[in-house]
């Protein structure tokens, strides 16, 4: 594939919207790379290694197990495309990645029926193909440990529901939820939804931040990690290592886990009684 641009750049939402006509979304017409290049701005992130990771994901997971690719790709993408949150909040970067660098991955992962939803190319962070994985990795990692990310992304309902709830921006809350997933207290998608809604609802009167204080993340270590990318090899067969900007305090996670277990046991799970 010689058509990969050298860098991941920026393509505005307005410009992206113009390229995403129904023929493109139905994969009947290719995205016009030359025209996209004319309206894009250059970025500083090397595109080839990111593209390579997407190719690897498609190779490792067959079309029938494409949802399972999320848990593999989320940490790899986060470790390969090293961004600050400020940079990651810019949708034009995700647009360029999806429309110009790796559109094949978007079709492969999200083709439903005869077309791909527009928001998988250009949309909110919790829906856009690559932004949702990157942010899931950023919000569910425990400092350098992507282990909780793999667990969280192994459940589609974590990505579809929990990721967009404001409560998970508090790291101990996110980690306590993953713990319930790891220990098997919650298993199915419906249970994840029930837990997420219960934690979110209780969070309107309970200050999790006060009950389970977090430590400030070390922005300098994070910057160092971004700078070290050029010298690092990102493994595909094992989970890569993330930025060492501070682990979530264990006692804070442990303070929330029993509380969430109680909230979950009191929460209604949709369809629970009729489930086989």
């Amino acid at each position: 594939m010689s058509d990969i641009p050298e860098h991941v750049g920026h393509l505005s939402d307005e410009a992206a919207a113009k390229f995403l006509n129904s023929a493109v979304l139905e994969d009947r017409e290719p995205l016009p790379s030359a025209a996209i290049d004319r309206t894009s701005q250059l970025g500083r992130w090397p595109a080839e290694r990111v593209w390579e990771a997407m190719e690897e994901a498609m190779k490792r997971f067959g079309p029938e197990s494409r949802t399972a690719a999320d848990a593999w790709l989320a940490p790899v993408l986060h470790a390969t495309l090293r961004l600050t949150r400020r940079e990651a909040a810019d949708s034009s970067l995700w647009n360029h990645l999806a429309l110009r660098v790796a559109p094949r991955y978007v079709y492969w992962r999200h083709m439903g029926g005869s077309s791909v939803s527009r928001a998988r190319f250009s949309g909110p962070f919790h829906t856009q193909t690559f932004a949702r994985l990157w942010w899931a990795a950023e919000l569910f990692r425990d400092g350098p440990d992507y282990g909780p990310v793999v667990l969280a992304c192994g459940n589609q309902d974590v990505l579809n529901t929990a990721l967009r709830l404001e409560v998970i921006l508090h790291r101990p809350t996110a980690q306590a939820m993953v713990r319930l997933l790891a220990s098997g207290v919650i298993r199915t998608g419906r249970e994840v939804n029930a837990l997420a809604q219960a934690v979110n609802a209780a969070g309107s009167t309970l200050a999790y931040e006060a009950l389970a204080p977090d430590v400030e993340q070390d922005v300098d270590s994070y910057q160092d990690w971004i700078g070290a990318f050029a010298h690092e090899h990102i493994p595909y067969d094992s989970t890569p290592e993330g930025p060492d900007d501070g682990r979530v305090p264990r006692h804070s996670v442990e303070a929330l886990t029993p509380l969430f277990t109680t909230l979950f046991s009191e929460a209604p799970v949709r369809g629970q009684k009729i489930a086989p």
Binding site: A17, A119, Q197, E209, V219
Partner: protein, 320 residues
């Protein structure tokens, strides 16, 4: 904390938050960058593009006599949050004296982009339950990383362009329209067709005789803008099990118009209702009538119309 029902007693009376000082990489920010009346801090400074962090000195005050209640162990936290960067920082403030807390909140530039919101919360044990929120600050502060002068006014970005010009192939289909709204992306843009005969001279006319026509046209345009923005905001709906505010300008459009669309509902209930109608395919008929009603109300509200006209005249000065 409006409209939320608490299953326990909460503090009655105003809890206020104040930003007393801001240090940018340890250099005090000039006082005019902090506006107490607008509750705004403007961090964007042309001569210091490469700053890394801002330290905000925060003070929270609550009426002392209101704090005597069935609460124990009252503590106070400051929260700095920006939805766009998914960042939320909580800092516990120290008690200076009864009813007053203070502390420092650090804003790291790497973790923020446009606007962060700063609020305060009082937390206490209530009926044996720890960590209950018993009050939030009445008004939040906005830390703006982009604005030069502190101001909260939000206006619609407006551009005069010729729809038929070679440079605008995407507008050729609309070349005979006087204006159109692009309600995608980070902020909506109103395009005015400079190739439309007489439009520009009318909208910019200062002649008293033209005023009524000009205002009427501006009002019509404003109504179309509100309608387009509302529909765009509605169609971003992601079909989650519980309705979510979309954030950004979309949220602000929904929040402003929903009270006119469903006056009998709280904002949250109105959001649930409008999304339910859109999802069930009942987006036509009655809903559209209500949207038109709300848009026309917005468009005729004097400040909004005035602002639009101001925007138009200012844009034209910038463009020419």
């Amino acid at each position: 904390m409006t409209r939320r029902i608490f299953p326990y007693p909460v503090v009655v009376g105003d809890v206020s938050l104040e930003v007393a000082q801001v240090r940018l990489d340890d250099i005090a920010l000039p006082y005019e960058m902090i506006s107490t009346s607008e509750r705004m801090v403007a961090l964007h400074r042309i001569d210091r593009r490469d700053w890394r962090s801002a330290r905000l000195s925060v003070q929270v005050r609550a009426p002392e006599r209101e704090l005597e209640g069935p609460w124990s162990g009252i503590s106070c936290m400051a929260l700095l949050a920006e939805r766009r960067t998914n960042t939320r920082t909580a800092v516990r403030l120290r008690r200076e004296r009864p009813g007053q807390w203070a502390g420092e909140v650090e804003l790291h530039r790497d973790r923020h982009l446009a606007q962060a919101e700063l609020t305060g919360q009082l937390i206490a044990d209530v009926d044996g339950v720890a960590g209950r929120m018993i009050a939030t600050t009445t008004d939040s502060w906005t830390i703006d990383l982009r604005a030069r002068t502190p101001s909260r006014r939000d206006e619609i970005k407006t551009r005069w362009i010729d729809f038929a010009a070679d440079a605008n192939p995407h507008l050729h289909a609309f070349r005979s329209d006087p204006w159109l709204v692009e309600a995608v992306g980070e902020e909506p843009v109103l395009y005015l067709n400079s190739g439309f005969d007489g439009l520009k001279s009318l909208l910019e006319s200062g002649r008293p005789a033209d005023r009524a026509v000009r205002d009427n046209l501006a009002s019509q345009i404003a109504m179309g803008v509100w309608t387009a923005m509302f529909n765009a905001a509605l169609y971003l709906d992601e079909m989650t099990s519980s309705p979510q505010w979309p954030g950004g300008w979309r949220e602000s459009v929904l929040r402003r118009m929903l009270p006119d669309i469903f006056p009998e509902f709280s904002p949250e209930d109105a959001l649930t209702e409008v999304l339910a109608r859109r999802r069930s395919g009942e987006g036509g008929g009655d809903l559209q009538t209500r949207i038109m009603h709300a848009a026309s109300r917005r468009a005729q509200v004097a400040p909004s119309l005035g602002a639009l006209i101001r925007t138009l005249s200012r844009t034209s000065q910038e463009d020419e």
